[in-house]
Structures are given as structure tokens and as C-alpha cells.
């Protein structure tokens, strides 16, 4: 076939079609199916066959204290983790951006926690937090302090799931922000230096305002991922102690795979999705409204 195709738009659509079809099967269909299943009773009681039960699942959800506790806990985990990741990620990106010998190796090593499997790392953290033999408790012992149940104290265990998550995902945030830093022309910074601006002034006046799109991107991405936190808590704490670190995704998983209540599991999945939609929409509006400006 010589020359231009008859209809470029049609060819483009055909080229994109296989990928879009697979996306529809793996993303759109499950959401629709879960939405439908959330209006059905499908558990051991019905022999796992779906039977319409009106809004019974949703009514149960509204009165389910465990759901509300998990929702609040997941939200708390997401907000605190992502907040810390943005601050530490920015610091890490600034260090990785500075020229110097071996910068490539530094970047690779800093990236390692992000590249390794979550389950593997969660298992590693379980050993680090181990009471009484883990290294953290060995340190405490060194200072004469009593051993601490990092994973067995209901009031504080969530903080240690946050720490493990922050450790693993900060490199990813740093990498995105590094991309932002690389897009800032060096001349801008040089001109501010010539004006006699201090490093912290450069950060506030130039770097942060220009990084905003990347910060927004990292924020949206990490917020969505953190609200779906699953393997970290499943392997590190199994939702414990006393359900204090159970995430919404873990609760949905348990309903399907342990309690064999697929209808209610689907309801939890859809509820989590709606929560996610609400939060990302809020985040997007919030970030969009404030215009980009370089304050002086």
C-alpha cells in the first residue's frame, strides 16, 4: 500500500483497539460486575449462586462498624503515608538531583526499596519489628529500654505500617519529582543565585512552584495506591492487632476468600472505589483551583 491510508483516524483507532479492549475487560468489566454483584446475595447460604437481595448488602454496609473502622483506618494510613512520602520524596529528589560522582549508582540504590516485591519487604519488616529479637528491640535493649511490641500494640501498630510503606514508596515519589527537577532550566536557578537568594528561598520561590504538576501527579497516584493498601498489611500485621490495621481491601479480600460472601465483598470493593473517586476528585479540584505562580 503506497501513499497515505484512506482514513488515518480509522487506522489509528484500529491500532489502539486491541489494547483498549484488554483495558475494558480488565478494568471496566470488573467494576460493572462488582456493582451488579453488590446487589446480590452470593454466599455459602445461597450456594454461591447470586440471588437478588435488593439493597441488603448496602444496608449492612452502613451499619457495619468494622467497615467504618476500616474506612477511617485506611484513610488515616493513606493521608499520613502520602504526606510523609511527599516531604521525604522531595528531600530525596533534591539529593539525587545534585551532581556528583556516582550519582547513577546512588539513584539505583535509592530506588531499590521501590523495585522489590511488597510481600518480601513486608516480611522483612516483620522481622525488624520482631518482639523481642528484632533489631529495633535490640537497639532499645542497648539503651536499657524494655522491649516494645511494635506489631502487637493496637494504639501504635498503624504507625509502623506507615513507616514500612513510606520506606518502600518514597523512592517512587522521589523519582517523579526528580523528573520535575530535571525539567527546570538551570539558568533560572543561576539567576536567583546571582540575585543573592539563599537555598531555602530558591526552594520556595522557584523549585516548589515549578514542581507543582509533578507533586500533584505523585499525590494522586500515591493516594489512590495507598487507599488500596493490601499486601503490606496482609503480610506485616494481617490486619491486627485487634483489627487496628485492617484496610478496606483486606476486609473485602477476607469476605470473598475466607467468609465466602462474594456479594458483600463486592459491596466493599465498590464502596472503596467510590471513596477513591471522591478523594481523587477532591484532590484534583483542590490542586486545579490554585493557579501556578512563581511568587517573589
Amino acid at each position: 500500500m503506497k501513499g497515505f491510508p484512506m482514513n488515518t483516524s480509522l487506522v489509528n483507532t484500529l491500532l489502539m483497539l486491541p489494547a483498549l479492549l484488554l483495558l475494558a475487560i480488565v478494568f471496566a468489566w470488573p467494576l460493572l460486575d462488582s456493582a451488579w454483584l453488590s446487589t446480590q446475595a452470593s454466599s455459602v447460604l445461597t450456594g454461591l449462586a447470586p440471588t437478588a437481595n435488593g439493597g441488603a448488602n448496602w444496608q449492612r454496609l452502613l451499619g457495619d462498624a468494622r467497615f467504618w473502622q476500616d474506612a477511617a483506618g485506611t484513610l488515616r494510613f493513606a493521608v499520613v503515608s502520602v504526606g510523609l512520602e511527599l516531604v521525604l520524596g522531595l528531600a530525596m529528589a533534591l539529593v539525587l538531583h545534585r551532581p556528583g560522582r556516582g550519582r547513577g549508582w546512588l539513584r539505583a540504590l535509592a530506588l531499590l526499596p521501590w523495585a522489590l516485591p511488597s510481600t518480601v519487604l513486608a516480611l522483612g519488616w516483620r522481622w525488624i519489628y520482631n518482639d523481642p529479637y528484632g533489631p529495633l528491640n535490640s537497639l532499645l535493649k542497648l539503651f536499657g529500654a524494655p522491649a516494645y511490641g511494635f506489631l502487637t500494640t493496637p494504639a501504635t501498630t498503624w504507625l509502623f505500617t506507615v513507616l514500612a510503606d513510606v520506606w518502600k514508596t518514597t523512592p517512587f515519589v522521589a523519582l517523579l519529582l526528580l523528573a520535575g527537577l530535571q525539567s527546570i532550566p538551570a539558568e533560572l536557578e543561576e539567576s536567583l543565585v546571582l540575585e543573592g537568594a539563599s537555598p531555602s528561598q530558591i526552594l520556595r520561590r522557584l523549585t516548589l512552584p515549578l514542581l507543582r504538576p509533578w507533586i500533584s501527579l505523585a499525590l494522586m497516584f500515591r493516594l489512590a495506591q495507598a487507599l488500596g493498601v493490601f499486601e503490606l498489611v496482609q503480610v506485616l500485621t494481617r490486619g491486627g492487632p485487634a483489627g487496628s490495621t485492617e484496610s478496606l481491601a483486606l476486609y473485602a479480600y477476607l469476605n470473598a476468600m475466607r467468609f465466602l460472601d462474594f456479594g458483600y465483598s463486592a459491596t466493599l470493593v465498590v464502596a472503596t472505589f467510590l471513596l477513591l473517586l471522591l478523594l481523587t476528585a477532591m484532590g484534583w479540584l483542590l490542586l486545579r483551583r490554585r493557579p501556578l505562580e512563581i511568587s517573589r
Binding site: G3, S118, T119, V120, W127, N130, A224, G228, R238, V269
Partner: protein, 266 residues
Amino acid sequence: MRSLLLLWSLAPLAWQLYTSFVTPEALIQGAGMAAGSFWTLENYRQVWLADPPIWRYLLNSAVVGAATTALTLALAVPCAYGLQRQGGRLRWAVTLTLLATAIFPTVLLFLALLQLARSLGLANNLLALSLPYAALCLPLAVLLLRAAFADLPPELEDAARLEGLNLARRLQHVLLPLLAPSLASTAILVFLFSWNEYPIALTWISRPELQTLPPAIARIAGSSLFTVPYGAFAAATVLGSLPLLLIVLIFQRSIVSGLTQGAIKG
């Protein structure tokens, strides 16, 4: 600053490495004791000879990773090319869809995907895992490759077209060779994702000998197979991390530039 960063990133990993090579007694009594039987390979022997042995999971993960990478690239290359050439509303809609799916947490899909796998007879099929994996990797892969296509001078393809090369030949002989670096970094990111994916692998595969590494590790952690203090766990985590460690260290330039370049232009 640099050493602080390295300490933060590497100390937990170094502790795993250390744990995997010492005896349980050494762990319990602390590193102070200098007995002759301090270091040991027993932990590695234990996971290597377990049933199923750890190399089985590594092999399974490698197979799924390779299949996923091939499938993702086969779908993402034409899609990225079409998206780059397309204008107007369709381009906008597809880009928005890709962004939305890129940030979507995988775990919310497991329930319906499990039903799909069961009804299609795909459960306990290692290669079938690459279907959902490819879908989950596609958004990022297409966005990265579209940015790479956008970088190529349009005159190049026009010239090839005037030479009478059709689309497949233009891609094969002209465009893709120039995209090799972007293809490589995309492939590495897809492989990393596939190696690390957990919820779908956990629910689709129930036979232990077919499991990929992440659910296998989680299963071992859930059983009382190896008890405290974690020597065998640590050996398993070290062996499971080693392939990725090598990939990251060998391809660090590709990974960093792939992600940062894609983000800048995407």
C-alpha cells in the same frame, strides 16, 4: 546527605542479608558473641530444598514476567503509535483513560477477575496471568512509548513512506530500532511490575508449585514452616530480591531515564 539516604534505603535490606547468613542462636543472643558457628548457609539450604523449592517460584515468576513483557509490548507499541498520530477528541479521551487506569489500585479488581478466570478456566494457569498483568501495565507502557514516538522527527517516517514501506515495515525497520532505549526501559518496568504483583497471583493460582514469588513468600510467612527467628525467611527474601537487584543495578540508567523522560513528556 548522601550517606543518610543510603543508610535509610539500604539498612533494612542489609539486615535481611545479615539475618540470612547467621545461625538462630546468633540472632537471639545478639552479634556480640564470636563463636565459631556464627555464620551459616543452613538457611539457604533449607529454602533451596523445601517443597516446592524456592527456585521453582523464581522460575514461575520469570516465566510470567517474560510472557507479560512480550504481550504488553505487542499491544502497547501499536496503541502508542496510533495515539501519537491521532488528534482531537479521541486522543484526549484515550489519554485520560490511560491516566485514570494508571493510578487505579489493582486490588479492587481481584474479585471480578477471579470470577472471570474461573468461568474461562484460566485459574491455575501460569501463562494466563499475563493477560491481566499486561492490561495493568498497558497504561504506563503506552504513555511512555507515546512520549518516545513523539520524540522522533516526523520527516523520518514520511521519507520511509515515500520509499513505499507499509506501516508494519516502517515500524520494524525505521521506528522501533530508534525506540530501542524506550522499549528497553518500558520492558524493564513491566517486568518489575509482573515480578511483584500479588493480589491477582494470590487468587488465580492455588497450586503451590505454580505460585509466583510474592504469594509464595506470603504463604510461607503465614504458615509456621519456619519459626522465629526468621533465618529461612531472610534467605527466601534475599533470593527473591536478587534477580531484581541485578536488574536495577544493571539497567539503572534505563529505569531512571525511562520513568523521568516519560513523565516529562507524557
